[in-house]
Amino acid sequence: MTGQAHTGRPSKLLRNLSSKIASIPMMLTAVVIFLGGTVWTVIYSFTNSKLLPRAKFVGFDQYERLWSAPRWIVSIENLAIYGIFTLIFSLVVGFLLAALMDQKIRFENTFRTIFLYPFALSFIVTGLVWQWILNPEFGVQSVVRSLGWTSFTFDPLYNSDIVIYGVLIAGLWQGTGLVMCLLLAGLRGIDEDIWKAARVDGIPMWKTYLFIVIPMMRPVFITTLVIIASGIVKVYDLVVAQTSGGPGISSEVPAKYVYDYMFQAQNLGQGFAASTMMLLTVAIIIIPWAYLEFGGRKRG
């Protein structure tokens, strides 16, 4: 290696050779484990693998069964409801909290800690805590009833129609603090002079936020969006801890379908088909966005 460096100009490939060598393990991991594993899963989703993978291809059978399974349809609907509301509420509430924090209030550190604290808990703990809070015999309902409103009913986890909102409350409680912190960091990155200029021009504060500050925070918002979105797609442990999919199948989510069919039902093919559908959904959202985001930058 050193001999080469003395004899002539190092080729482009050999520049920063040591750092390239250092990154080989990670590249291999990415290619073999992530990409390889993904491709393998997609291929085997066209087989009738049961407990062990078998290369016996059955075409789209697994997918036909998947889309005719009521439980899968319920899972997709739940993910859509959970996803849309989580996105909206965690961004809106998170930004409002961040903006309030940014008003040079007293004890900011204390508040920040309090709001971020739920994020330090795992989804399992969050789920169990909210299972108790929303339990009609021990939680909110019994507290309100003991105050005198005896007809008060609030049992989202035991009502099929609204159970997913019970899960949503817990998810928001856990995740909003992080969104607030990320956006607060973004707000702090805005130059003081911009605020001063806006004030000189007589622009009201809400307009400054909406039309100047938020557009400037675009990169922070994108990071936040990616973090929230990945959290939505993989939601699993929260549901397991809080409702285990119940009552009946009304709070099932796709990730749980994948696990249950791969391991409990010993039907790998069906689980692979479901996880491929999850991948496809993510790809449909990510690819156009990545194209706009990164493709556009090269041109500009």
Binding site: R65, S244, G245, G248, N267
Partner: protein, 411 residues
Amino acid sequence: MKIRSMAAILAATVVLPFAAANATDLEVTHWWTSGGEAAAVAELAKAFDATGNKWVDGAIAGSGGTARPIMVSRITGGDPMAATQFNHGRQAEELVEAGLMRDLTDVATKENWKEIIKPASLLDSCTIDGKIYCAPVNIHSWQWLWLSNAAFEKAGVAVPKNWDEFVAASPALEKAGIVPLAVGGQPWQAAGAFDVLMVAIAGKDNFYKVFKDKDEEVAAGADIAKVFKAADDARRMSKGTNVQDWNQATNMVITGKAGGQIMGDWAQGEFALAGQVAGKDYTCLPGLGVNEIISTGGDAFYFPLLKDEEKSKAQEVLASTLLAPATQVAFNLKKGSLPVRGDVDLAAANDCMKKGLDILAKGNVIEGTDQLLSADSQKQKEDLFSEFFANASMTPEDAQKRFVDIIASAE
């Protein structure tokens, strides 16, 4: 060169712990973790330790649904335990077909398992292509209705003697603020209750036609429609249960908050633990008091194929220990289940267990659904019935249509 020596070192680190450990330590995995279950496992461990070997307990908490994936991935991942529990039936079928499980035919012929294991269907479930791959240890039956005598007294009606009387008594129970039928939220409980209703209402022949022959026409027929009608009653009666685990539901019966529960004979351990007496505090109706037939599912031990010869020998010792008469009695009394051999004396059994033994002796037995259906079909059934029991707007007719689809696609 270097890579080869590295590989040797790596291999050595893997092999060493096995070589260094005393060759007759056997790790046994199972999911028996509740109070009564743990006491029963201790009996097995005691018996095996007495042979000069050592039982290394590998209990996995959470029910079979949690434990089985862990066991399977250890076996397929090349880190097999020495022995593991499964429900006998089709759960380990593919592991056997893949050649990962040990053939026990030698031990079985030497100890004459074919003669001593009753009913014979237990050993049949362990047999694949004429070879025996597991040692059954107990019989658990699903077909029991447990009733709280105190609840019926409070409601002012007589304790029912069969399912129809129970349904008729349910309005009185509801009026007294008692949930007539406790059904926990875990999916397998709803699916299991349906199977029980199937045997009791449609009878043994229809049960076999649907689950063994996978006959779609019978599944869509009028007899099974009656079963769905009964499941509809059960759904109405179970409204307000609001608990998840089966033992919490059993606890509702014990405390008189619920009138009854359809649950397997493992519920008996909970009544015993609460100090209740069969016949006085609670009543048990095998076959829901309609059709006194019990299923013979249960637990069995499978032995993964090991390279270590010493351990393989110890596996044989363990297999014969599990079926020894003394072990069978000690284990099953603690577990509340029935022994797999007909020639042991269970004088200490309580009334409900004796009823079960009687039915067993008469030969009124059927195979369990775990033995007849694949795990995949069982899971689909669980999805269907957990939805049915939670969703009052789903009609019995719709549920039956979906049930027919599951049976049609079952292998």
